[in-house]
């Protein structure tokens, strides 16, 4: 089966086709236009059935809008590309547009989630935010990307994992709602890193063994001794630089960092659940977005305390694995081993943490 995002103008043209050879596609396009909001794209999947008939399936499509802040710290900025528009030639604009599409594709095609809120939430982004702005963030309704200072950081749209990370913050906001402080904040961060990595892997069709497991690869300039900002496979090894210091992420709960800064070290301690996810994916092999990613995605929809600890979240992932694949499944065993591998205790009987 092939599938792709069809922009609204093309949907309209397909819907108007008066040619028997394309009757199926035209009807699918007309359905998409009826079901969707005005000017929203749709995802059409084409395949042949056993009688060589063309089968067209209509799926959800993204609704992307990219704005340009013009190097000011004012949102949203001027809209420069909307859904279905041709590339602008501005690298940051087009990277943001494509990255939002790739992230939408993972959640839609793999987890059957229609955007951030599972109800077609618009994917709005602002690029060229601030002057030499060394950051990207999610403000509760849109993604915002700076261009970097040019000395340490380049533009933040350069890494697909960063774009996926920011959208995943929105998904967590509409599901588990994990508080952004301490352990629950580190879990919030880790979930964004996990799905940021999975967006990249799904887009590049990389298996567990082929993937870099890096977050923010390519963001540093050549002046920095480092490959990325974080590594899920080996937390604490992403960079080691004279100016920036060494990647401070721990890879075991025993080394959890207590700090008053960064909302209690949410970007530091996320290394622990990041590594747990990697261990689960490594144990299961194949494509990480399939079983390992499905377990993490399912966990977001479980009744989880917004202030969940690592132990509580680990227990929830085990519940999710048991529910979908069975309590004695390889997935459940991998989840249990993954958390134990990073020093998070699991009970031996009912999936509830000790």
């Amino acid at each position: 089966m092939t599938h792709g995002i069809v922009p609204p103008y093309l949907l309209a043209r397909i819907a108007e086709l008066d040619d028997a050879r394309f009757a199926v596609a035209a009807e699918a396009a007309r359905r998409a236009l009826r079901y969707d909001e005005p000017f929203r794209a749709a995802r059409l999947s084409f395949s042949l059935d056993e009688s060589d008939n063309l089968v067209v399936e209509v799926g959800d499509g993204p609704n992307r809008t990219i704005a340009d802040a013009g190097h000011r710290e004012t949102l949203p900025g001027t809209v420069v590309r909307s859904e279905g528009d041709e590339p602008t030639g501005d690298v940051a604009v087009d990277e943001a547009y494509d990255g939002l599409g790739a992230t939408f594709a993972l959640f839609s095609e793999v987890y059957q989630r229609n955007s951030i809120d599972d109800a077609g939430f618009p994917l709005d982004a602002t690029v060229h935010y601030g002057a030499q702005y060394d950051n990207a963030f999610w403000n509760g309704s849109r993604m915002v990307f700076g261009d970097g200072d040019g000395e340490i950081f380049g533009r933040f749209t350069a890494s697909l994992s960063v774009i996926g990370h920011e959208i995943a913050h929105g998904v967590t906001q509409f599901t588990a709602g994990l508080e952004y402080r301490g352990q629950s904040g580190a879990l919030n961060e880790s979930i964004s890193d996990v799905f940021g990595a999975l967006v990249e892997q799904y887009s590049l069709e990389q298996s567990v063994d082929q993937a870099s497991w890096l977050i923010g690869e390519g963001l540093f300039t050549d002046e920095v001794e480092g490959t990325a900002l974080r590594s899920l496979k080996a937390p604490g090894t992403a960079y080691d630089d004279d100016v920036l210091g060494k990647d401070p992420q721990p890879d075991n709960f025993a080394d959890y960092v207590e700090t008053p800064d960064d909302n209690g070290g949410v970007h530091i301690n996320s290394g622990i659940p990041n590594r747990a996810f990697y261990l689960v994916a490594e144990a299961l092999g194949g494509n990480a977005w399939e079983h390992a990613g499905q377990v993490w995605y399912d966990t977001l929809s479980l009744p989880l305390d917004p202030r969940a600890t690592f132990v509580e979240f680990a227990a929830a992932t085990l519940t999710a694995a048991g529910t979908r694949y069975g309590e004695t499944s390889a997935e459940a065993a991998a989840v249990r081993a993954g958390w134990i591998g990073v020093g998070v205790e699991m009970s031996s009987d009912d999936g509830r943490a000790a």
Binding site: D134, N135, A136, F137, W138, N139, G140, S141, F153, F156, V162, H165, E166, H169, Q173, E179, Y180, N188, S192, G216, L219, L229, R230, V243, L244, G245, P248, T259, P260, D261, D262, N263, V266, H267, I268
Partner: protein
């Protein structure tokens, strides 16, 4: 006899968080830069104002501390709240700090 010298201030600005999770610090002593009216800059800031939690993720977090002989102020702010008097204070501290440092 009372000490008529102005109270010396030490001001610390720590920026943490952000997507990268890097921490940077800037520190200044008022005695090193007496040409700047640090008392006015510090007292202009709304130190007691509370920042309600919001849904912003990956934004910078600023810890700002100002300490004199008997007075100590401390505030933690999301990047979106570093505006007005806060921005003026932070920009002055960053400007006169000889060298930003990255630690941890």
């Amino acid at each position: 006899m009372t000490d008529a010298r102005p109270d010396p201030w030490t001001i610390l600005v720590v920026r943490s968080g952000g997507f990268a999770g890097l921490t940077r610090e800037w520190r200044v002593s008022s005695t090193d830069h007496p040409e700047i009216d640090w008392v006015r800059l510090v007292e202009a800031c709304p130190w007691d104002a509370v920042s309600p939690p919001d849904q912003t993720r990956d934004q910078f977090v600023w810890r700002i501390e100002a300490q004199a002989r008997v007075t100590r102020w401390r505030a933690t702010l999301p990047d979106s709240r570093v505006r007005g008097a806060w921005r003026t204070l932070v920009d002055e501290v960053k400007a006169v700090s000889t060298r930003p440092t990255t630690d941890r």
